[in-house]
Subunit: 222 residues, 2 copies
DNA sequence: TGAAAACTGTACCGGCGGTACAGGAGGGGA
DNA sequence: TCCCCTCCTGTACCGCCGGTACAGTTTTCA
């Protein structure tokens, strides 16, 4: 019983890394058993087929993901009672965590599976869907707490704003991976933070209309 | 010469739909030739291997993508000379185009390939990277035009703001696909539009602090 | 009309997902 | 001590797939 769990975990570890680099279709079972040092029969003892491996992988990934968000935003809530401030602090902590990843974000399994869709059964697609809905509920809850205290400066739908957090994270991961710029993801989260700040806080008075060109980014001569 | 191009295009059409539904690894060449009504030899006459198919597919996708953006934002520029207004109109047009897609957005090949990464050669990864950099340049150019006229109400980096457009699009596609809610993508683009608006325009005066709960979204009893 | 372009047909290879099944090591409870 | 259960190994096999090789055929158009 103990030994079995350990082997199973080792397979999942190897599989997760492989799937995030090559997708499900690009990851062969033979390659997984080679790296885990197990036989093919051993693999199929733990997982009936590739679909069940995907399911286990996805469930584990989502669980871990939720745990991380819980930690970050609970920590943020410990630091202040104000719902807006704790949300903003949470986003800051999240961006720091993301920029501390040594090789950049490895990729999101939810997105990976969404781009592999048709080869999995309805159950997996449902698990994936529920994970995204859980994000919507999580961030929606926090935003509703804010709205109860701060007036919204522009008419936006709370659930859509909650989805924006997921959008920017998923999109930021794609950009970061494609550009091979690990920092892009963290920067995008901070941009979202700026948006949230502007939606609920009065803008600081303009310092002196210095006509544009103040906050330009890197040079882009082309 | 003419006939060859036509067959090639037909293969690419079939392949694009398949790849967006199942990923590259999940798409078999045999399945492509079956649907195109061509033989295996015929397929390999047009494409040396799967990698070259991917390259052609990606290049065509990016080209088409650029064309669509050109059309939308040129059209927006025809409607007004003001850089901010034309950008906002462009985003509105984009969201309308996205919400008019009958079955929702089919998925972005750039993201699909980014999640399949390791199985392609450096060249493809470079094409992908350049596509994202082109988006950054495109939106960055428009934002710089705005910044030259309107003061930024919060200190944000222009390139990071430009990347936010790509982030929200890519993330919105993932959310839309996973949730099977075609509208989510268009809504996310409009959220981004609100952000851009707030960054450059003074906020409308608050109507009367009716203490929150004004713009709540759908009920979320959990 | 003739050469090049655009294929078809056939045969083959090795890798992969998956199945089937027999058997064995090791530990824990009766 | 014995037996059973968990956790594997080993072997053999199937059919699909990506890819190669190459000879031959039809279509196109200059």
């Amino acid at each position: 019983m103990r030994k079995g769990e350990e082997t199973r975990t080792r397979i999942l570890d190897v599989a997760e890394a492989a799937v995030l680099q090559k997708g499900f279709g690009g990851t062969s079972i033979e390659e997984l058993i080679a790296e885990t040092g197990i036989t093919k029969s051993g693999f199929f003892y733990h997982f009936r087929d590739k679909n069940e491996l995907a399911k286990a992988l996805l469930n584990r990934y989502i669980e871990n993901d939720e745990r991380i968000y819980d930690e970050i935003f609970n920590r943020a809530r410990e630091l202040t009672g104000d719902p807006l401030q704790s949300f903003l602090i949470g986003l800051k902590l999240l961006s720091e965590l993301l920029s501390d990843l040594p090789n950049g974000h490895p990729g999101c399994l939810v997105a990976g599976i969404c781009y592999y869709e048709r080869l999995f059964d309805r159950e997996i697609q449902e698990i994936n869907r529920n994970a995204v809905l859980a994000w919507r509920r999580r961030f929606g809850r926090m935003i509703r707490d804010i709205v109860a205290v701060y007036p919204l400066r522009e008419p936006v739908d709370v659930d859509q704003l909650a989805d924006m957090v997921s959008s920017v994270l998923e999109g930021g991961i794609v950009l970061s991976k494609t550009l091979k710029e690990p920092n892009t993801l963290a920067e995008q989260v901070l941009m979202l933070r700026t948006f949230v700040k502007m939606l609920f806080l009065p803008v600081a008075e303009m310092p002196k209309a210095s006509s544009g060109s103040a906050f330009h980014g890197g040079a882009e001569p082309h």
